[in-house]
């Protein structure tokens, strides 16, 4: 698991970790059952406060994305998201609104936005071995 922090972008570091782990999950770069690095290891690797890593892991755990196993470590959950479907759609609707608003400001047609989404989805899906 490789994370890259941008300390100057204003997002708290724990949130950057949460977002990047979510992205890695969505991109299939973290699979169910896979272990996340121990808190101290990740803290030393990224040169950040271990409490911050603990907080990010707690947040991921609360979202049901990872599970802490007593005395061993933190693992990617088998069941991806326990959130109800309507709840998940509601979360996504906010992001869709933001995207649509932005595209209107930038004068990008709706069809072009759809096309872009399709392109990005393709770029994000795990690559087939050559």
């Amino acid at each position: 698991m490789q994370l890259h922090l941008a300390p100057r972008d204003g997002l708290p570091i724990y949130r950057q970790i949460v977002n990047q782990v979510k992205y890695l999950l969505a991109a299939g770069r973290l699979a169910a059952g896979e272990e996340l690095p121990p808190i101290r290891t990740l803290a030393e690797q990224l040169v950040i406060n271990p409490n911050t890593v603990a907080r990010a892991y707690l947040e991921l755990e609360r979202a049901g994305l990872v599970t802490k196993r007593q005395g061993s470590g933190t693992y990617v959950s088998e069941i991806r998201s326990p959130l109800r479907r309507t709840e998940r759609l509601r979360l996504l609707a906010d992001r869709a609104d933001a995207l649509l608003a932005e595209s209107r400001h930038l004068e990008i047609e709706f069809d072009e936005v759809l096309e872009l989404l399709r392109e990005r989805a393709q770029a994000m899906s795990p690559k087939e071995p050559l």
């Binding site: 972008d9 204003g10 570091i13 040169v47 271990p50 409490n51």
Partner: protein, 311 residues
């Protein structure tokens, strides 16, 4: 806030309340209050001359409070210096190490000073920091001096590590080594770090709690994540150009011209959008504010003392 050492009730390591200090007629510290609990990294932010070092000298018992109370491990550092300093590792900004000593002599000297000195750990740090035991302190480079100072601060495994501007004048490589040492110190159960810096990205990286000082006063203090999430940079667009900056509720600073104005604000986004709508403006861009923007906005606006963040 979850800390690695949070098995029991949070234990207060440092507490300062109502601390005021004058040097002749100049007010150096004005009614400062703060609390640091065990296992936290507390970052003190402020420009040069804000009073950071004066505050730290009170924690070390080098200054007696004129008004207010200072406690470290629940003790008065002025009355019980041995019991406080024996458990504190300190790196001063001017790294005042005896110049004539060799590195190996410095280590023996420090070992005699601290009953809990861990010679094995000291040797490990010396190797890791690549300090020549035969080198004289006066011949060390700035970076080596900082590392030698850090070594003596760390090798007795202090319960509280106090660093005054640890990165001042250091190159990025040595800065990183100093930060790594801070991270490792907290990773060891229950250790607490109090450090001052004017480098906000450094504070942003390693702190749990942040206090911002300006001209001896505390302008903002709270949990770092809450401070970051409680502030936004929003750009407003008005239907007509404005001749002067709009007065936006929650805004700490407003800059811009004509139709578009950017504000660094304290408050939730829905509230800021509502405030903008009241002015007939629309929020056209919104971003998380960086600690630096928040600091500049807070210090610039001379916000109220010790005000806490609205989540």
């Amino acid at each position: 806030m979850t800390t690695l050492a949070s098995n029991s009730a949070p234990e207060t390591v440092v507490s300062v309340s109502g601390l005021t200090r004058r040097f002749r007629s100049r007010l150096a510290l004005e009614d400062l209050s703060l609390e640091v609990t065990r296992g936290q990294v507390f970052g003190l932010v402020g420009a040069n001359g804000a009073g950071k070092t004066t505050l730290i000298k009170h924690l070390l018992g080098l200054y007696a409070p004129q008004t207010g109370i200072v406690r470290v491990f629940g003790l008065d550092p002025v009355k019980e210096p041995a019991n406080v300093l024996g458990r504190v590792g300190f790196l001063s900004e001017d790294r005042d190490l005896p110049a004539w000593m060799r590195v190996e002599e410095l280590l023996r000297y420090a070992a005699a000073f601290y009953p809990r000195w861990d010679a094995e750990y000291a040797e490990r740090l010396r190797e890791q920091f690549q300090l020549d035991p035969r080198a004289r302190v006066k011949h060390l480079s700035r970076g080596e001096l900082a590392k030698a100072g850090l070594l003596t601060a760390l090798a007795h495994r202090p319960a509280l590590l106090i660093l005054d501007e640890p990165s001042s004048g250091l190159d990025p490589l040595v800065r990183r080594e100093v930060l790594e040492a801070v991270v490792r110190t907290v990773a060891e159960e229950g250790r607490t770090v109090f450090f001052s810096s004017h480098l906000l990205d450094e504070i942003e990286r390693v702190s749990d709690q942040v206090a911002m000082m300006s001209s001896g006063r505390m302008v903002l203090r709270g949990e770092l994540a809450e401070i970051l999430e409680g502030h936004h940079r929003v750009t407003l667009r008005f239907p007509q150009p404005l001749g002067q900056a709009p007065v936006l509720e929650g805004a700490l600073t407003v800059q811009g011209a004509g139709r578009e104005w950017t504000a660094v604000c304290n408050g939730t986004l829905p509230r800021l959008s509502a405030a903008a709508a009241k002015l007939g403006a629309q929020v056209v861009a919104e971003q998380a504010a960086t600690l630096e923007e928040i600091f500049l906005a807070r210090v610039g606006s001379g916000a109220a003392c010790g005000e806490s963040v609205e989540a």
